[in-house]
Symmetry: C2
Subunit: 364 residues, 2 copies
DNA sequence: GGAGATAGCGTTAACGTTCACATCTACAGG
DNA sequence: CCTGTAGATGTGAACGTTAACGCTATCTCC
């Protein structure tokens, strides 16, 4: 008796079902309609409820029946229908992910970490990228995810508007923000940007620079603001002058543009950049201006992208673990989902750390 | 009469429902169980089927009824239950996405493009990242997506094993591969890597270099192989010697390592790199070896990441439009989903183009 | 003025699960 | 021998939609 080949289509090798009971006989007679529990039940000679019990690993099923059911499942190549399960249990086993600027190294790594952790926790993940951070756009994404009845939402939420929109998710759908502003409504998880900026600035100050210039990211990103704060605090604490800042947009291009201005100012000897891309642009600007880094000018970045170690010169920067951030955010969400809703414990801060390479030297 | 505030929870501002009919009176009496069509129907004084008709934009509903229903929907803040719809229509409105190395610029951009296009086409997207490209891992991802009853699958499928695993998806679930090998089973979409490699190599040859060295990506990536092919073909056509190659792993680190070997060889004057990251490493290696680019050595990359223009020197490279690739792949999938299954038209090739910057000069 | 259309609804039955029971054995204790 | 208990299984009713009809009016046309 030949192995059952279900619906051979354009030459695809069909799944080969094998059974050690004699069940495959008339198993695959009707590929007309999809196989359901009834079919499995009939083949195994039990009720659909018993099939359900087996598939859900519930007790009170004899070993022999269990085996028989599992066997029938294999023969029929049966898979549970998520929609039906969701309908009756009102659990979609899906978490929603709101992303922004997901092509950047940071967000992309977070998505990776989130997806991995979610899967391991038994959740599917549905993604909704948002093109702008305007309120309506974010609201739209929330709407999309809610329409899918996601059980929880993780928002890579760099701007306040996102955290804000998150308060609009239906009651009972927990949400977690990662890397954004803390609005007090939604648990938030992020790297301690203030601390990171302190480390970067201190490092440069310790190297003997009189003060440190800063090329921050866009003003409406909490990350950028925190880094500015950390930078400013450190300068204040050291009684160093606080130079004016001109914000970039996280891109290398913006770093290059701001860098050209800085390079024209003979007094700048140390620059702390809002991220590594900005640093790359700044590096190029100083190079073109004939002010070699790190001989005459020192530069420190933020993020530690995999490429930073191969810039010219290799970039001293602040490392943050995006994937870990993603992992932790899932942990936080799942905790809310399963255990009693955690009392909002305030923002959780992960520690970044300084990676010393070659772009920062003692003051000339 | 006060605006209805549904389930005020930990201070969240509830959605404010407003109606221009007098319907909101006893609308929100029972937030006990979720609102369904029955509730909307009752409030609007119609049958649930009429509600369904309105919500699905079906004809044969009078304007006044439609308005009344819509109004009730607003008042109750009702949303259709996807699970129930999926169950009865067997359409999940979801497409599955299999990603690999999604933190890289290319895949990340593709995901972005795919998500955007899918959303615009009215599909949700569920993502399954795969940690390795071994058969079982990919099969696992396919399984995950099928369990969600996705209507189609897009695989960012750089290796053959993925295309292979794709043949295992249940009949009736169309799949599209993007950027990978063509196995003849699944429609495949990609940038014309051979052509891109030709352009890069020709550019260097035209600059007067005797031959062009190549630092390719991993041998089991079709992209890497195609670029090798293009490079080799071009050298052959020009009757130039074909130097031996030593593959990298797409990372800047690997480029640096291979670059050190090349820099030790006085004969190499032109290097075509498998991607921009490799190029970054190669750039650094030559810099450290005291062989300035582009004065003594020329380098060309592949991908044109947003940062490449700010390398030292700015990188001449091959641009490929990842987001467009993603967009087109959705287009291809949706075509299969809606229209009659397209006869597999063979792999679709998008054209890359050369971006000339400053890393390649005339031969010394 | 009766025979069709047709627009505008409503009724009933799926869809494939899980949940809350009911049932039926076997076996122990009195 | 009867009762109680627990394990193993089956039965029927949800879950919230859409699909397939069915039923009224109203309108049109000869």
């Amino acid at each position: 008796m030949a192995a059952a080949v279900i619906g051979p289509d354009r030459g695809r090798p069909g799944p080969v079902a094998h059974s050690h009971l004699g069940l495959e006989v008339d198993a695959v007679e009707a590929p007309l309609r999809k196989v359901g529990m009834r079919d499995v039940a009939r083949l195994a000679g039990v009720s659909h409820q018993t099939v359900s019990r087996v598939l859900n690993d519930l007790p009170n099923v004899s070993a022999s029946t269990r085996e028989r059911v599992l066997d029938a499942v294999r023969v029929l190549n049966y898979r549970r229908n998520l929609a039906a399960r969701t309908l009756v249990t009102s659990r979609s086993r899906t978490i929603g992910l709101i992303g922004f600027e997901t092509t950047l190294a940071g967000p992309a790594s977070m998505i990776y970490g989130i997806e991995k952790a979610a899967r391991e926790a038994g959740y599917y993940v549905s993604i909704a990228t948002v093109r702008s951070l305007e309120r309506h756009a974010v609201l739209d994404a929330v709407e999309q995810l809610c329409a899918q009845a996601v059980e929880g939402i993780i928002a890579i939420a760099p701007k306040n508007s996102v955290a804000d929109a998150l308060t609009q998710v239906p009651v009972g759908t927990p949400a977690v923000g990662v890397g954004g502003a803390d609005d007090g409504f939604v648990p938030m998880l992020r790297v301690d940007n203030v601390r990171g900026a302190c480390m970067a600035t201190s490092h440069l100050l310790d190297l003997g620079h009189e003060t440190v210039h800063h090329v921050p990211g866009p003003a409406d990103w909490p990350e950028a603001r925190d880094r500015i704060d950390g930078w400013r605090q450190t300068l204040h604490a050291a009684a160093a002058p606080v130079p004016p800042i001109e914000a970039g947009d996280w891109s290398a291009r913006s770093g290059y543009l701001r860098g050209q201005h800085l390079a024209a100012d003979a007094r700048v000897t140390a620059v702390f950049c809002g991220n590594d891309h900005i640093a790359l642009g700044v590096l190029r600007a100083f190079h073109e201006a004939g002010r070699p880094v790190p001989a005459r000018v020192s530069v420190v970045g933020f993020d530690d992208t995999p490429e930073s170690g191969f810039f010219l010169p290799p970039l001293t920067t602040i490392h943050q673990d995006f994937a870990e951030l993603g992992r932790r955010s899932v942990e936080l969400l799942v905790a809310q989902l399963t255990g009693a809703a955690v009392a909002n414990p305030g923002p959780v801060h992960l520690s970044p750390h300084l990676v010393v390479r070659a772009s920062a030297n003692a003051a000339p």
